[in-house]
């Protein structure tokens, strides 16, 4: 009843190719944005910000980056966290060594450094594909982390290897409350998500998907494979780099290599799988799912433990988490390989017909 397109005619190609062609969608996104920017900062608790909302947003950005590479361009990557680390450490060094460096520029600089490294490790993709490429990205993951740990100049010769991130200050305003950090992260992520969506529906997105689906045919119609693949690596790594910088500055408060382990790479890959490969919305849904899951699990188990006095150990919860993650991945791949984004699409289709069954 509510979700009907009846009466909404597109009179121009611009209207047809808009991001939200249906009016109800436009209203919906406006509401969500209003909630996110206006209501949440005033109502959420510091815990909600620091432990849930901020990491959700930052990892959505990283998932977006991985989605660009794996989802749109079809190049498998297991090294996402390493590119995030490059972004974090590069930002740190920009802030440290360039006097008066504006922090947003430092973040962008971190992203650019990550993009350059991404191009370097993306070069093998011109010869290798599939799992072989996945293994090559593992090389990136291990090698980059080793460099960041061993090369003293990068960590400013810190003895413990753990560096405190500088304060975020823009135009004199200090972003040191959770709410302030949340708004900053939200703004950056929103802008970059829009950019990603625009690229996805434009020529560059189509070129990437063409390369993913059948690269030989893409070549034949004039798409330059090298350029397309390296661009995918560059843009993807830029997104991951910025996410990595935000991870350090707005979430952890420290810049350390251990935070960007293989484990994080897998988490982000899971977000992409669960959320939906090749979907901007999917990156957010997947991130929300994976970020909330441990919390929900832990709360549920503790509740059951307390109610029924089961005496469940801490370690059991973390093992349970592993099992649930693993199980969910398999579940999603079997039931809906296109992830939550597809489920959402199906829900919308059903909604268009509601209350009729078909």
């Amino acid at each position: 009843m509510i979700y009907r397109e009846a009466g909404q005619f597109k009179a121009s190609y611009a209207a047809d190719s808009a991001i939200f062609p249906i009016r109800q969608d436009r209203v919906g996104i406006a509401v969500i944005l209003a909630l996110a920017f206006l209501v949440v900062p005033l109502t959420a608790t510091p815990y909600l910000f620091s432990a849930i909302l901020i990491p959700f947003l930052i990892l959505s950005l990283a998932a977006l980056g991985l989605n660009i590479l794996t989802g749109y361009a079809g190049q498998v990557s297991l090294g996402t966290a390493a590119f995030m680390a490059v972004g974090a450490f590069a930002s740190y060094n920009f802030m440290l060594r360039v006097p008066g460096m504006p922090i947003l520029l430092a973040f962008a600089g971190g992203g650019l450094m990550a993009a350059l490294v991404g191009i370097l490790f993306g070069l093998p993709s011109l010869r290798i594909r599939g799992f072989y490429l996945a293994v090559a990205t593992l090389a990136a993951q291990f090698f980059i982390l080793w460099v960041l740990t061993k090369v003293g100049w990068i960590t400013n010769y810190s003895s413990s290897g753990v560096i405190t991130a500088q304060q975020i200050e823009i135009l004199g305003y200090h972003f040191n409350t959770p709410a302030a950090k949340y708004l900053l992260v939200l703004s950056i992520v929103a802008v970059m998500a829009l950019g990603a969506k625009n690229m996805a529906r434009g020529n560059v997105g189509r070129s990437w998907m063409a390369v993913r689906d059948m690269d030989l045919a893409a070549e034949v119609i004039g798409i330059r494979l090298m350029r397309a693949k390296l661009l995918a690596f560059a843009v993807s790594s830029f997104y991951c780099g910025v996410a990595g910088a935000l991870y350090a500055y707005a979430y952890l408060g420290t810049v350390e290599p251990e935070a960007y382990s293989l484990d994080l790479s897998f988490r982000i890959l899971f977000m992409v799988i669960v959320g939906g490969v090749g979907s901007v919305l999917g990156s957010f849904l997947g991130s929300a799912f994976i970020t909330l899951l441990p919390v929900v699990l832990s709360v549920t188990v503790r509740f059951l433990d307390a109610s029924f006095n089961l005496g469940i150990a801490e370690s059991t919860i973390s093992n349970l988490e592993l099992m649930v993650f693993g199980g969910l991945i398999i579940f999603f791949l079997i039931v809906e390989p296109h992830g939550l984004a597809r489920l959402w699409q199906i829900a919308k289709e059903k909604l268009r017909l509601w209350p009729f069954p078909h």
Partner: protein, 297 residues
């Protein structure tokens, strides 16, 4: 000079261990076209189950077949729950499913048997063989040599199995094309259960050897990751390739750590095999023994 040989041989022998894990990968890939990221988790699970049973006072000669039975049971469950629903899906989907499987098995193993590090005693000591040590001054471990022997036997058996038996041929057909194999009446389910069972057995052997050497702990799962460069060098479908690849990776890793490591602050072992594999991929994408990929358009 003899130090060089000692490192080299030590590396080769540890490479044999990598090969054992890689062998499990190759089996599954050769027989079902699935790249089983969970192989390392299987190794971990097998080793942990074995020592767990031993802790429950089962003697060695009972614990071994019991663990084997558990691995076969696991194979049955995996086939039913993971593989069957994903028949004919693209390779990358199956690959990601095995990543999920790896996490699941790791969590399960630790939940069943606890996460403390345990030692594993196989009756073989990791000591230098006396007469070699006396004769040449090199320290070569009894244990490593025994492991190499076991691997050799295993490889020979598997090679015969694949190339000479009817089941072996059926397995190769399945790896090529699930649907076509089904269409000619090859019993996919049985085949897969057999294969994953055998891979589980190989994982058990690998798990016992690795566990005896380094203790049974979570880090064992990372051994699986090391098997990936082995596979790249050797080709994903080749049993001899897994051996040769393992030897090369093991040797080069140790040599690099000893001879290059000190100049760059050490810790090279973590990434050297991967970078080596990467360079290799650029030159020969299908590996030493792999089949050239031909695409027709």
């Amino acid at each position: 000079m003899s130090f060089f040989f000692e490192v080299l041989i030590g590396g080769l022998l540890s490479g044999v261990m990598y090969s054992l894990v890689a062998l499990g990968f190759v089996l599954i890939y050769k027989a079902s076209g699935v790249f089983n990221f969970a192989q390392g988790a299987l190794v971990f699970f097998a080793a942990l189950t074995f020592v767990g049973l031993q802790e429950l006072k089962l003697p060695f000669w009972l614990a071994l077949p019991a663990t084997l039975a558990v691995m076969v049971l696991l194979a049955l469950v995996i086939e039913r729950v993971v593989l069957r629903p994903l028949v004919n899906q693209p390779q990358i989907t199956l690959f990601m499913a095995t990543i999920g499987l790896a996490f699941f098995i790791e969590g399960l193993a630790q939940m069943m048997w606890g996460a403390n590090v345990r030692g594993l005693d196989l009756g073989l000591q990791d000591e230098p063989i006396q007469w070699i040590s006396d004769a040449s001054g090199m320290n070569i471990s009894k244990f490593d040599l025994a492991a190499a022997g076991v691997a050799a036997v295993l490889v020979a058996a598997l090679a015969v199995f694949f190339n000479r038996t009817r089941i072996g041929r059926a397995l190769r057909a399945v790896a090529d094309d699930h649907q076509a194999a089904l269409a000619v009446g090859i019993p996919l389910r049985q085949i897969w259960t057999i294969v994953w069972g055998v891979a589980g057995a190989v994982a058990l052997v690998a798990g016992l050897l690795w566990g005896a050497r380094n203790g049974v702990q979570y880090a064992l799962t990372f051994v699986a990751l090391k098997a990936l460069p082995v596979l790249i060098l050797g080709g994903f479908e080749s049993v001899p390739g897994a051996i040769v690849g393992g030897l090369i990776i093991g040797a080069s890793e140790k040599l690099a750590e000893v001879y290059i490591g000190p100049y760059v602050g050490g810790g090279i072992e973590g990434w050297f095999p991967y970078v080596l594999a990467l360079v290799f991929l650029l030159v020969r994408p299908e590996g030493l023994f792999g089949e050239k990929i031909i695409r027709r358009i």
